[in-house]
Point group: C2
Chain length 455, copies 2
């Protein structure tokens, strides 16, 4: 019996998809230039047991299994490999439980990040991890990449919130890892191991996440700077002052101009780089911290800086940050970098990105979760310009090397996927890579779970 016949025999509520046009749309994420294979089929299971049955059928037929959420990844982690079955989890999109007393939620992997946040907010609770893709990306995808976001600088990343997982393992078992209690050390932290493993250790079918109380309304601080390097120095000054913002974002002139041209906002006339910070400490502490942040901005050379407690004004300031990526995408394919360096090296790293752009004659815009040193240089090339693409690839490689040289990592929050495989090999020692391979072989003995991704 063929695998397609075996999948048909499962009598899934939605039959396996094999139409090439449909498959093409389910074969890749948002990473530019990452290779994409041709899947045999795609399935859209609705229950954990259906996922298990699909995985078992694939194991029996030696077919690769590529799980996917919304496909908003930026490293190629969800890209199809030849002959694989794409397991699309978008139909498993129910919030199963919100427990206000234990401060946890149990969700299916296809739940959209913002939908979980809305469901939590109804109980005065908050799911902090907020990747810029939060209106579209799924919790399952967030778990696969250990997604970060704006609030990580104070509140941590996806792994910090995952208490437990249900998943289908590499041996086709449906298991539960982790716990619902506040603490627990019963055995190895396999839950944390699966978070960020990009679908290479199992297919997640349910996620139990920790929630926090909604924070108080935030005070926003904005600063205009004459260069990204000066803005980077302000980030360092902020860290030296011991401030803990709930967000500290950088947007450079390329992004500001692209947003201006699209939305006619006009900010780019006044600043070469903007820093946006938020404080959400209770009882007046946010105001005091915001005042100290203003002083840091001014001492570092801001040309203008101000604070706002007005929610609408604050939202308008942050909208330039949020619109930067789509605004740039209007100009051509965007290759997204994701290096993370120590906070003290943000200015130097931004300087190196500028020099890489000059040296290779590439437009590199910068958005950054500056407060935790996580930079997203955005390499924009004219559509169809192969020479520009080659120059951009050279600049991309140079940025990765610079991040490692400055004591950083090749990926802060997007994952290794396909794009950062060479970077990972440069970052980890051969012995540590061997440990990765040993763990992978131990938990996925057939090697069929999202093969070729991560390492």
């Amino acid at each position: 019996m063929s695998l397609l016949d075996a999948l048909a025999d499962l009598a899934l509520p939605d039959p396996a998809l094999t139409d090439p046009d449909v498959l093409a749309g389910l074969s890749h994420d948002d990473a530019e230039w990452a290779p994409v294979g041709a899947p045999l089929a795609a399935v859209r299971p609705r229950t954990p047991e259906q996922v298990r049955d699909v995985v078992r059928a694939c194991l029996a037929h030696g077919a690769p299994i590529v799980p996917r959420g919304a496909g908003t990844g930026l490293s190629g982690g969800a890209n199809a490999v030849d002959g694989c079955v794409v397991v699309a989890l978008d139909r498993m999109n129910r919030v199963l439980e919100i427990d206000p007393l234990e401060r946890l939620a149990v969700v299916q992997p296809g739940v959209i990040n913002d939908d979980l946040r809305r469901a939590a907010a109804e109980h005065g609770l908050w799911y902090p991890p907020d990747p810029a893709s939060s209106p579209w990306s799924t919790i399952g995808g967030n778990v696969a990449t250990n997604a970060g976001g704006l609030c990580c600088v104070k509140y941590g990343v996806t792994r910090d919130y995952v208490l437990g997982l249900q998943l289908v393992t590499g041996t086709g078992d449906l298991v539960r890892l982790g716990r619902r209690t506040a603490k627990g050390v019963a055995g190895y932290d396999l839950t944390g191991l699966v978070v960020g493993s990009e679908g290479t250790l199992g297919v997640v079918t349910e996620v139990t996440v920790r929630l926090r109380p909604l924070p108080p309304p935030a005070v926003t601080v904005a600063g205009y700077f004459p260069s990204v390097v000066t803005a980077g120095e302000a980030v360092r000054a902020t860290a030296e002052a011991g401030l803990t913002p709930a967000a500290l974002e950088l947007v450079d002139r390329h992004c500001l101009r692209a947003v201006d041209e699209w939305k006619r906002t006009g900010v780019s006339a006044d600043a070469d780089a903007v820093l946006l910070a938020r404080f959400d400490d209770p009882g007046g502490a946010a105001e005091a911290a915001a005042e100290r942040m203003l002083a840091c901005f001014e001492a570092a050379g801001a040309t203008w800086a101000a604070r706002s407690t007005d929610e609408a004004e604050s939202e308008a300031l942050f909208s330039a940050r949020r619109l930067a990526y789509p605004a740039l995408e209007r100009l051509g394919p965007v290759l997204t970098e994701d290096v993370c360096v120590p906070k003290s090296k943000v200015a130097e790293m931004l300087g190196r990105v500028e020099r890489a752009a000059e040296r290779h004659d590439v437009t590199i815009a910068n958005i950054a979760h500056a407060g935790d040193g996580n930079l997203h240089p955005l390499l924009v090339t004219p559509p169809g310009d192969e020479a520009a693409r080659a120059r951009a690839q050279a600049a991309f490689d140079e940025i990765v090397a610079a991040a490692l040289e400055l004591g950083g990592t090749v990926t802060g929050e997007h994952g290794v996927g396909l794009l950062k495989r060479p970077g990972l090999a440069a970052e980890l020692s051969p012995e540590v890579l061997a440990m990765h391979r040993a763990v992978k072989a131990a938990l996925d003995p057939s090697g069929l779970l999202n093969p070729g991704k991560a390492f």
Copy 2:
């Protein structure tokens, strides 16, 4: 060449210890009733390379390797097995680096928890995990057990603070895992996997931890309750009110009496159970939360409740909590439980502990990190009374079973070691235990790293 000759050939600055009396002292932790084997030797290396050389010698000779810190563990995780080499890491006790800007510290594994806290405080920084053993236990031991403590209810456990590790692997390689940056998703979270693995996946030789700013002075709230169950109901009320204390501890009448008899404090005349809470929110928010906590205590049936901002008074209140364990140890061997249940089940779990004490005619005192449902029933038996010990073991098993029945875990923060191996097998499914064995075999192919511990 014998292993002892091979160890001598390493020319360690401190020669291998083989005197039986000396070895006896290095052969066990503080767990009562856990089996203890007879080591071949103990070594006290001073550098990561010496640890690597010792591990390689043991691997070559097929000898088990049992790492230990201060031996304050409560599950038998550091207990020697026959023929092993004990690797005592107490001479690797230097704080190598405190970086205030990046908010991290790099320490050797033998650094005492309180010493790291003091070193961080000199820079206005704080290492939160605070097991009750913090004056004696080492960071290496804390990493091995993923130690918790009083502040976990708000600030998390050891794993939440470990950014990176240097360790000697099961193949005798000296490797670095993790990072120094705020974020990073380059590869599997092997750092988090090693934390809490009780020396079964490697011997940790250096730890990089995240630090936080020192919190503001705390407001303390104390409540006296007519029973532990009433106190447990106050814990539930606190959670329902959405409060986030920085500590919420329970001490019962057995502990209060033992402390009274030792230190003549007199609290036990007034209360059957005491709850102690701390709030450290900035800008007046702590005072407001303390007022709400008082209301929760009173509504739940407290016979007396008050708050204090006086540091000395607060310290005096918490000293009863800290003295409880040594005070009980004066009465006889103490077998320490470590179950963790959902916050809503604290009252029910405390009631079940009381009934187990009655049914099996055992004195069971209670201290608890009540705010996160982590209970430490303390089973006290008269020295040398074997019948009492058998009854205590039956009560211990009953408490473990009750915790699982209430949706909890068999170990919140002490680790599995030897004492909780049956509990672990009851908590995890056979498939998940198989995943543990596969990971262990992958990273410790010879099976010589702390064999027989954890699972």
